[in-house]
Amino acid sequence: MSYPFFEVENLTKRFGGLTAVNRVSFQIGRDEIVGLIGPNGAGKTTLLRLITGILRPDSGRVRFKGKDITGFKPWAIVDQGITGTFQITRPFRRLPIIANVMVPCLCPRALKRGEWVKKIEAKAQDALEFVGISDMALEKASSLSHGDLKRLEIAKAIATEPELLLLDEPFGGLNPAETELLAKSIRRLHKGGRFGRLHSEGPTMIIIEHKLAELMKIVDRVIVFHFGEVIADGTPEEIVKDERVIEAYIGKEVI
């Protein structure tokens, strides 16, 4: 029997009277890069947090490789192979940057038996190299700029060797040159392989992003969110022409 690689079914989350995510369903195949877009407050980040287990859904199912992972603890979800980044970066400020990446290297999924601190440090260094901040490895995380914090967040995520990577606004606050670099890294990561000691599964990705021009270059498929519901789902070319999407972003023409 075949099953979708990743599937969300009728996922719902309410905060008091506000329904942030309302009966959302979609499927994602292995090796896809999916963009998740929508106006502010559409519930994109909430959806991501439901998937990564930081929030618990009120109803609905999340299935990964045929396994129901709804309501798993965050670490159990990482163990299954799904890792998300935070939109508002959450570094361990008083620790060196390298230590920030060593922590996810220590999760049961990424940790091989008998790996000692030195080996893990080398692995973390490779993750930093991949996102391009390895020269600052020994500085405290509090000394990083906003753009570098975003990259650190991605380094932390890929250190867990995920099969499904959820990126929450990876380009937010980056300048065009940095965006271009990061987009390149993301495509490289998606191809998979080994980066030094770091192993990449070539993860499937869901990317939340507001910078549509950059996003459209990377993704295979776009899901559009509005008021907690999916209003469109298709290739980038289809989405930019979709009337409901234009309406959600710009508003209806008043004549």
Binding site: T52, I54, K73, P74, W75, V78, D79, T83, G84, F86, R90, P91, F92, R93, R94, L95, P96, A99, N100, M102, V103, P104, L106, C107, P108, R109, A110, V117, I120, L138, K156, A159, T160
Partner: protein
């Protein structure tokens, strides 16, 4: 003879390159050496007694640091572990007749169990709520002890316990070597993978969870490890003082641990040890002016915290050592360039 001199030469080289290269290591080395050699200078029972108690409380304070300094789980009832181990050791010794070298580890195991019992309900609590909840546990146990004076001796406590060993000198060496050994073990734990996760939990627990690490397990581990070391201290205390009273569960003892740690330098392990070895003998010294003893003590602590908010050892370390801006290795403050990467200091 030739071989021996080569070995001595190599040992001297290691000593010079490994210990004399940094003033902090030199200080730590000579502190250990001094502690081990003090009986050659004096065998005054009173001085040895002060140093034995300092060693015991140093283990206790360092164990608080391991839990609260590293994982940030503020434990305001750390005396619970001390007291549980103290009473367990005392009861086992008195009623079962086990010797001290068995009762102390068993007492420590009881403290580990106490760590689990406290840890589980406290997992969901954070900040002031956690502090208040942990504060309650030793009070509850004190209440239980007063309810069943038949077993626990009530307010008088349990007396008539076997001494640690026969002589004061042996007691001294047991306490000091155990303190140095356990201090080293704790320091190694904090430098390991587990220690890194403890650090990260203090910084941002949600981010650690999102990194795929079971924080519940690590927080419980921190409670248990801390309980283990505090338990050893409690068992030692009982066999040294030969009485297990409710004072081992006192609020004051919990707060004293916190004062020692914050005075010496939080999240360092060596800080609390230094803090105890400075403050405890100092308190004893102040017995010459009993009326204003507490006042002098409090003033000293407040002044230290005012001018060295990160604790004494951290402050001193920053004064005598400089961190290389490039490779982050520490160098003696008098050097102009880093000893490894030759980068300009300052």
């Amino acid at each position: 003879m030739g071989t021996i001199s080569i070995y001595i030469g190599r040992l001297y080289k290691d000593f010079k390159g490994g210990i004399l290269v940094l003033p902090s290591r030199t200080i730590a080395f000579f502190f250990c050496l001094l502690l081990l050699l003090i009986p050659l200078i004096t065998t005054e029972p009173y001085i040895l007694r002060v140093l034995i108690l300092s060693s015991i409380f140093a283990i206790f304070a360092a164990s608080w640091d391991l839990l609260s300094g590293y994982t940030g789980q503020m434990n305001f009832g750390h005396a619970l572990f001390f007291g549980v181990a103290a009473y367990t050791s005392a009861l086992l010794n008195l009623h079962v007749g086990l010797p001290p070298w068995l009762t102390i580890p068993l007492g420590a195991l009881a403290a580990v169990l106490a760590g689990l019992i406290v840890g589980v309900p406290c997992l969901r609590l954070r900040g002031p709520y956690l502090a208040l909840a942990t504060l309650a546990f030793p009070l509850i146990l004190t209440g239980i002890i007063f309810v069943i004076p038949g077993i626990t001796g009530g307010e008088l406590g349990i007396s008539g316990i076997d001494p640690l060993s026969g002589s004061r000198l042996t007691d001294y060496y047991i306490a000091v070597i155990l303190m140095l050994g356990l201090g080293f073990v704790m320091w190694k734990i904090t430098a390991s993978k587990t220690g890194l996760i403890f650090h990260a939990i203090r910084e941002d627990e949600v981010a650690v969870r999102a990194s795929g690490i079971n924080t519940t397990r690590y927080k419980l581990l921190a409670f248990c490890l801390s309980g283990l070391f505090a338990g050893v201290a409690g068992g030692m205390y009982v066999h040294f003082m030969r009485i297990a009273g409710p004072s081992t569960l006192e609020l004051m003892l919990s707060f004293q641990a916190i004062i020692w740690v914050i005075f010496g330098g939080i999240a360092t392990i060596y800080g609390p040890i230094a803090g105890v070895f400075i403050l405890y003998p100092f308190m004893e010294f102040l017995r010459i002016i009993p009326e204003i003893r507490m006042l002098v003590f409090a003033t000293l602590v407040v002044l230290i915290l005012l001018f060295m908010p990160e604790g004494l050892t951290t402050w001193v370390r920053d004064k005598i050592e400089k961190e290389c801006p490039r490779c982050k290795l520490r160098n003696i403050a008098t050097r102009k360039s880093c000893r490894v990467c030759r980068a300009d200091l300052d």
